[in-house]
Amino acid sequence: MLRKVLIANRGEIAVRVIRALREMNIPSVAVFSDVDRHALHVRMADEAVGIGGAASADSYLRMDKIIDAARKVGADSIHPGYGFLSENAAFAALCEKEGLIFIGPPSSAIEQLGSKTSARQLAKRAGTPIPPGTEEALNNANEAKAIAREVGYPVILKAASGGGGKGMRRVEREEDLEAAFRDASSEAERSFRDSAVYIEKFIVRPRHIEIQILGDHHGNMIYLGERECSIQRRHQKVVEEAPSPFIVNHPELRAKMGEAAVAAAKEAGYTNAGTCEFLVDIHGNFYFLEMNTRLQVEHPVTESITSIDLVKWQLRIAAGEKLTLKQEDISIRGWSMECRLYAEDADNGFLPSPGEITSLSLPGGPGVRLDSGVYPGWKVPLEYDPLLIKLVAWAETREDVVHRLIRALEETHIGGIRTNVEFFLDLLADTEFLAADLHTGFLDEWFTRRKKHEFTPAEIEAAKRVSALARRPKPQQVHVKSKWKELPLR
């Protein structure tokens, strides 16, 4: 087994990994930036090493400092979490060179899958369906035009090194293509220092469905069902669920997509946990989108329905153990859904809302899992991703899990900062959401029909009453020295 694991991350995912390590009796090492000395992941770790300034570039992205910290404490392995250095092939390669176990795929697999164009080529070789378009970066707008005519409009331009929705432009008509190409290239250059852009057919009202895979160093690889993550804003997932309501109605797709994901991963020489993202159109055609070469934020929904602990398997695989699970061992039970609770003002363009969590009360009871990175009194720093807590529910059916999430959200209180709790309460009550008629543009449409919550007169009355009570000054607590009592008070 691994001797000691350094977690090159922060927040809820660092806490998640530390919990797995503690359950496996493996010492855990946290790293922290200057503003994270008080962070929950530090409090829970066996050891902790400061690695620099608040800005990610000065700490969590500093490969040298992280490798150095691992050396100092005698860690033999590094878990990268998600984000930060997790999909950085150079970091994985550096670990390999330094004789440290990188808990993830080999750097060569990250390298091949990191560029969207090389990933497209790889998927094509593996026989995994890809959207019609180029595998290579475009040289100019005219090349784009030729391909767009071939595959038909609408098309989408994407940054080859992109992610997170940056450097992407949807184009409906040929006359808009040239400007869109220019915009996408320059945004790609700014965001990723790589102006390369490629073109694909745009899939209309697609679902985002992804396949979780696990592979060991002995040639074994399995898929663990799918997750649907069609509820997105600005190409960021907000609600994830497993299974996918679409796949439940098209059960033959699960094995097809699972096998396609495994084929692509094998082609890349993949090991450890990974996720193959697909777009699925209304006819059930699916297209390779990209491979995420790390643990996903939304991995708990897969854990909930398969009863398999993905993080523990990451650790075992990294230690060289065999994947004893066979494909036929994987079965799905019930339904799971995750809400990402963010420090953001959901009523005001989802602006980040860092600051002190002045009060915190979290839900419990059956079917509720909380992966939290915060505690009452924690000052959410403004330097990092605003994810506070993942609220994950499990229940027998999709309807039950939605009701359970609503109940759990109603039990949740996060004071002092703004969060998206109410946004979720509204969304989960939406009849179309309940009908599971999902696609990646769902949220944009929903915002236009969103109903405003109405408080009851009793609630409004009560709010005034308790505000008055809260305002009432406490009985003056003046600690007066005894000799003061003798002073003549007018």
């Binding site: 403004l382 308790v466 505000s467």
Partner: protein, 135 residues
Amino acid sequence: MNEAKVESMVWSLLDGHRQLEARVDREGEDYVVAFRGRKLRVQLEDPRAWNGSGAGKQSSGIAKITTPMPGKVVRVLVEVGAEVKAGDGVVVVEAMKMQNEMKSPIDGIVKQVAAVEGATVNGNQMLVVIEAHAG
């Protein structure tokens, strides 16, 4: 109404048999009261004129552009005396990996620039004052 204070800033209210749990947080001059995850804002004091985000929505007179969130000023796009149109960006503030461009709500002249590039700002901090063109 029967009120029981159950925790600091938390009350259980009984109106007849109806039970409501109310959690109170202060936010500036206001109180924010939460019932089962839903938050309601209560203003006990008179809202002060020309203060807070509401002020930015004026279409004439003076507009004070304030930060809607804490963050870092990454760019100041205007100088004192500059002319701006409604919708022009004036300051870019970054927090939690997101950049937000603050826009002028009115046509006018920049009267004051309090924002400094690289500085950390709190929520509701004044960044720029713009005076509308007369008439």
